[in-house]
């Protein structure tokens, strides 16, 4: 068990695309335990991806179960994850362990379908939405060398939410 060093912007290693995991062995499971320790050591992170600790393999952890009134699959270790279906979009504010003291608005799909392997190599299909779906999309970006800062939209964009329009046109 160990807390690993988190690499931070502008470290070029955050831009590298991660490789698929091929060996589902004890070493992998030990790394996942360290990755989880690292996630928990930081400031309330709901997810973490292997490249954030400079291991360029397609491994991520997401756990939004600590958030009140949120449907979720609990603690998820996702290996070689692939999003197979996207639906809807919404804006939400994100921050990142690799980008201290900055938050920004990002557009993500509202609902996703996901295929991923577990630490033993078995394949699972997940359907998720809202905060959990956002967390998975944020972490999965890390595997493709993307940070949320690459996707930040204008704060002003949020003024034009459909909900505001409907209220505005109601008078």
């Amino acid at each position: 068990m160990a807390v690993l060093d988190i690499i931070k912007l502008p470290d070029e290693r955050l831009k590298r695309v991660s490789e698929p995991v091929e060996s589902f062995d004890q070493e992998l499971r030990a790394f996942i335990a360290d990755l989880e320790d690292t996630r928990r050591a930081g400031p309330a992170a709901v997810g973490i991806a292997a490249p954030q600790v400079a291991r360029h393999q397609r491994i991520l952890i997401v756990d939004v179960s600590g958030r009140p009134k949120t449907e979720s699959h609990g603690h998820l270790v996702l290996i070689n994850p692939e999003i197979t279906h996207w639906e809807g979009f919404e804006i939400g504010r994100e921050g990142c362990l690799s980008v201290p003291d900055f938050t920004g608005n990002v557009i993500r799909a509202t609902r996703i379908k996901l295929r991923a392997q577990d630490p033993e190599g078995a394949t699972h299909i997940y359907e998720m939405e809202g905060f959990e779906a956002r967390a998975v999309q944020h972490e999965l970006d890390h595997l493709d060398g993307l940070l949320f800062v690459d996707r930040v939209v204008s704060r002003r964009t949020d003024l034009y939410r459909r909900k505001v329009y409907q209220k505005g046109s109601g008078d």
Binding site: V46, G92, G95, L97, D101, F131, A135, R155, L159, G168
Partner: protein, 173 residues
């Protein structure tokens, strides 16, 4: 002693203002901090933290040629830096209503009474000249509950103002 200067700048909008102003500052040996730059109506506006140890007078001299050429008015104030200590908003208030004088004062007075600290406020006048609509988005920090804020703002509906309170939930990943 302050090592930052707040540059406030306004002028008729046109392409190239940011490039010319920041090039002049770089040429004078300045370093830039946080900024807000936006078109308001037909005007381009800049609020920009400028570092690098130059006095307001030296900055004024460095910017004078480009200000004259592009018709920009500017103002300089020494300020404290205060970087790397972002306050994180926890509440967002979206306001919309037929445009009339007093909407901002009505809404923000209620928020101030609730101890709401505004971190960002952006507003637009939408619609058209005959039927303008005022739209405002406020993000800030408040220790009161959502219910308390909603109750405090509920009286605005009678004045034709819709105010929607929502938590700002930040995903850290």
């Amino acid at each position: 002693m302050s090592d930052w200067t707040m540059l406030t700048l306004v002028g008729a909008d046109r392409p190239g203002i940011v490039a010319r102003v920041t090039r002049a500052l770089y040429g004078a040996g300045c370093n830039l901090g946080e900024a807000s730059m936006i078109r308001l109506g037909g005007n381009f506006t800049i609020m920009l933290m400028v570092g690098g140890g130059l006095s307001c007078e030296q900055l004024q001299n460095a910017l004078d040629p480009v200000a004259r050429e592009l018709g920009l008015r500017l103002h300089l104030d020494p300020v404290r830096g205060g970087l790397h200590q972002h306050l994180v908003p926890n509440i967002q208030v979206r306001v919309a209503g037929a445009d009339r004088a007093g909407i901002v004062a009505d809404v923000t007075e209620i928020l101030a009474d609730q101890g709401f600290n505004i971190l960002e406020l952006e507003s637009d006048v939408a619609g058209d000249a005959a039927k303008p609509v005022y739209i405002m988005n406020i993000q800030g920090y408040c220790e009161q509950t959502m219910e308390s804020l909603e109750k405090a703002l509920s009286g605005l509906a009678a004045k034709g103002i819709s105010a929607d309170v929502a938590p700002v939930e930040i995903l850290i990943g």
